[in-house]
Symmetry: C2
Subunit: 357 residues, 2 copies
DNA sequence: CTCAGCCTTGTTAACGCTCACACCAAGGGA
DNA sequence: TCCCTTGGTGTGAGCGTTAACAAGGCTGAG
């Protein structure tokens, strides 16, 4: 179970090379070594070679803490995500990867903070100057973190739309348009009674605006088109999801289309339709809202609105880094950008067949 | 689209309070303020109150970079995860949360590094002293990062079993035992022909030992028990997964049990069984291997071996922090710990019914 | 009365890096 | 001839924090 061999920590700390060591090895001053490495002022070819060789030989890597102290830049971005009880964590992964990968491409590392108390977490990472900027996720309509962010010395970017965007760069899917696209699409095919399943009610209570943004826009469009739309809260776990779906299909036998603004419900739907002998799209047309990646990994055969989590994460990071790196960019007005919902066809919609009932 | 209001970065940097400001405000020296805040040496009640009040009034938070430089401790752990093309990212989320949450409980933040080049990433975060220790995930049998980790000045912990554990703390599910438990369980119920679906072949080629560890142990046990076991590679995406499953069920009509060591395949199975009119467990017994959380969110109705990602992440972090914080703990021998596979019943197994064919 | 020893606080030197400010030599224009 | 520029390099201060060392005042024992 446990090896008896002694370990590499037995002998005292191996001292790692500093820029002073590199300078000595190359026979120059510390600043010359620094400049040769950074290229921030002209250095003779001869000296530059010697410094580079010395750095290579000593496997020199600048000490991040020291550099941060001297430059007031950490080259780290904070990523604040909140995972509430009962939330659908797996879908989050795509957003996170969008952020970490883009950050790295731009030369930044990412501090992932999943602390439940988001306000305290944000205050901690900004006040301590651990990060040059922050990306906030899981934005609530009235998000308690926003006042803290606005007062922070570092810039920040949001993935998700809050009630008040002032003083912030905001990126989100255009959920209103997504709702309209869903309704339009099925209306055009001839559907006249639809069901829209959103997230669980507690998500709304927590201020998850994307729920009502899509729903209200869908309801409005349905009203304009004379389509009946039953908008209901969803569930995020089994067996509640299954019960809910069966209950809805029983309650609205004339509904011929299903709109799903909730990954967990979409994931649960295939089992239910198969169990009930419903054919998609012959008996029931379905449109979801998630990412292509998510669809592929979870065998979701439905047409869907691409939620583009990676693109959103990337956009937020790019704007954030712009502000971090340029005083000029810092002074620019804040932006609120929406990604247009794109309907990806998986052929799960068709003109309504005979009524299901 | 963009507000015209000027922003808070227009005026120059708000200088944030340093410990010097706190000291001045409290009328003491910097070191006294430091000691009063850290409690590392006795301070009179009177002075301590003054310092605390000053710190409070100035909203003082220690500068992380400066502290790191002075103490040679960053209070940050690195989490190195590699997301290979075509890998099943969502299942990763649970492991990550296990790490970040436990780290935070112990007073550490987490630097999430998802860079494709894991060796370079590891070298960067350790050499630059950005982190006090690292947790490595997605361990390959011959993982190129391990030599780097062994040579690093910081301790590290692995989630996943490499070929050579020397000089490392390792935590993993006991995949061998998991394979045996699966086979034993179905054998006891009377099954005599089973199919085991693993990960895609490229996972094995990349050195994903958990694939063959479970498989080989299952094959060995099956041999001992006189059970026929068809072990095959899986797929991780639609529509390949569906094709694979259908193909297998056609190819082995006498098989009455399915063992699934692959989240993506498990997620895809319900659609296939429903489509084929197969009842679980009446016509087919199924056992998966994933986490309870995963099962709940993805409506997976199968009995499964709990893979306990959160527990593994937490164990790794706890051991890592022990080593980071205590010279004594550093000198202790390295450990390799396996979590025992626990079979969680969802009643998807039963004695074999009439042969499916 | 003196001095060891404790309690409390201050002084100062790091930690490793960057950058503003010299400084020097060589070359070119007036 | 002198001065000014320009290219190349060194010196040293400072980033904010900690901690080793020093030092003062007080108590109590001899």
């Amino acid at each position: 179970m446990a090896t008896q061999s002694s370990n590499r920590f037995d002998n005292q700390e191996v001292r790692v090379a500093t820029i002073g060591d590199v300078a000595r090895e190359a026979g120059v001053s510390r600043s010359t070594a620094s400049y040769a490495l950074s290229g921030k002022r002209p250095i003779s070819e001869e000296v530059r070679r010697r410094v580079l060789a010395a750095a290579e030989a000593l496997a020199y890597t600048p000490n991040a803490g020291a550099r941060a102290l001297a430059t007031a830049q950490t080259k780290v971005l904070g990523l604040l995500a909140q995972f509430h009880e009962d939330e659908f964590a797996p879908a989050m992964m795509q957003y996170i990867l969008g952020v970490t990968n883009t950050a790295r491409d731009l030369g930044y590392d990412t501090l992932l903070v999943t602390e439940a108390d988001g306000v305290r977490a944000l205050r901690r990472v900004t006040d301590s100057r651990m990060v040059d900027g922050v990306v906030l996720m899981n934005i609530a309509h009235e998000d308690a973190r926003l006042p803290v962010l606005r007062a922070a010395p570092q810039p920040g970017a949001l993935v998700g739309l809050p009630g008040d965007c002032s003083g912030l760069d905001v990126f989100d899917l255009d959920f209103e348009e997504a709702g309209r696209v869903m309704v339009d699409h099925l209306h055009r095919l001839g559907h006249r009674e639809l069901i829209l399943i959103s997230h669980p009610e507690h998500v709304v209570e927590r201020g998850g605006a994307y729920v009502w943004r899509l729903r209200d826009a869908a309801l409005e469009r349905a009203r304009q088109l004379g389509v009946t739309l039953h908008a209901v809260y969803g569930e995020s776990r089994q067996p509640a999801v299954g019960r809910l779906l069966n209950g809805l299909l029983d309650a609205y036998p004339a509904a011929t289309g299903l709109l799903i603004n909730n990954e967990a419900v979409a994931a649960a739907l295939p089992s239910v339709t198969y169990a009930r002998g419903l054919r998609v799209p012959d008996d029931l047309s379905v449109i979801g809202r998630y990412s292509a990646d998510f669809a592929a990994t979870f065998s979701l055969p439905y047409s869907f609105i691409e939620s583009a989590p990676d693109r959103l994460g990337a956009m937020a990071v790019r704007q954030l880094v712009r502000r971090v790196e340029s005083t000029q960019a810092r002074a620019e007005p804040f932006v609120v950008r929406f990604i247009s919902p794109e309907l990806v066809s998986r052929e799960s919609t068709a003109p309504p067949g005979s009524t299901r009932s």
